[in-house]
């Protein structure tokens, strides 16, 4: 099992979803992908994409900093 990170800050949906989708293609079942986003829409869109494609969202964390709000979504890669 490996852990990977994806910086999707300053990208508007659906780009964080597309980037996560493409990164997950390189991972295997059970791997963890942590995606950092700034578009609040990602909080709905990434979990929705995970649900319909068989991946699990383990955690969603919101962090405020000087640049604004970051949303960190931890995905456990599923698979057929």
């Amino acid at each position: 099992m490996t852990s990977d990170t994806l910086d999707a800050r300053n990208l508007l949906c659906p780009m964080p979803v597309i980037r996560a989708q493409n990164r997950i293609k390189t991972l295997t079942k059970g791997d963890i992908l942590e995606v950092t986003c700034t578009d609040p829409g990602a909080k709905n869109d990434l979990p929705a994409w995970c649900r319909i494609n068989g991946h699990q969202v383990a955690e969603i964390e919101t962090r405020d900093n000087a640049q604004g709000t970051e949303i960190i979504i931890k995905i456990v890669v599923g698979g057929e």
Binding site: C13, D39, G41, N44, I52, Q67, G68
Partner: protein, 348 residues
Amino acid sequence: MNRQPKAVALISGGLDSMLAVKVLLEQGVHVEGINFYTGFCVEGHTHAIRKHDQKKEKRNNALWVAELLGIKLHIIDVIEEYKEVLTNPQHGYGANLNPCLDCKSFMVKKAREWMDENGFDFIITGEVIGQRPMSQRKDTMPIVARECGTDERLLRPLCAKLLSPTLAEREGWVDREKLYDFSGRSRKPQMALAEQFGFDEYAQPAGGCCFLTNQPYSAKLSDLWQQRGSKNYDLDDIMLLKVGRHIRPKSHFKVIIGREEGENNFMNGYRKQFTHLRAISHNGPLALIDGDVSGDDLQLAAQLVARYSQGRDVAEVQVEINEKGKETPFTLDVAPLRNDDIPQAWYI
């Protein structure tokens, strides 16, 4: 065929593609969705940026539809490939810079490639004859199918009965009798079918789903191309056309001024790529300068920024300027421009 037929559906997130998929699911066809991201898709972008829209629920409607229907959705980034469609449309533009017919051909062609690569049998769309002035006419629909090499494998379940039978119908993969004969701009047949399927909520995008059908947006894109001397763009360019006031005081530069907090926050993410300004003696928006500027240009840009600050009516406003690529900012004390000093022609 001794297995379940498989269709790939072009999913926009609107009602028509949602219904088209449901019609096929009801017939036992395995359907997966595909959604192409060109960079110009409206899909909640402005809602995501603007502060006053942030109470609205943010969701990608294509994803929402796929989940509701219980199908997989594949979102494909076609930003680079789409440039050729937009900059050189074989069938021309619509009322603005919308190359609808070429766009439809492009997307069906991409769906065809996906279909072949993934072992699917046919493509479905939610098109309805007469629904759109350019891409959904009885005389243009065959052009799309022919140009994409999908003549036999492109099924439009909502208006199939008005068109010649396709392979899926002839082979018995779907029952033509259970398809529809919708036509025209009225939405009533679709709304009735939605009710029949128990869909009480669906997206109804006002003004279409593409920024290119929007006149102010097209004007900004046209200005960008004109100033660059070529029809080129990257994703950052077209994202920034969606936010702020775009003011071009001189041909070699324009100033993008945030209109509210959400836009300022969004533009803040781009500040390192641009010379940027902000009033510091008064509250005011963030502004980015697109173009190469000299001292006089910066003075003028600072006066513009001061005009849109809360110091617009005072004699002098202090503006902080961060030049692209330089670590240390400097300040200018400037007189805000008056409304009469800003010719209408500057506004893009």
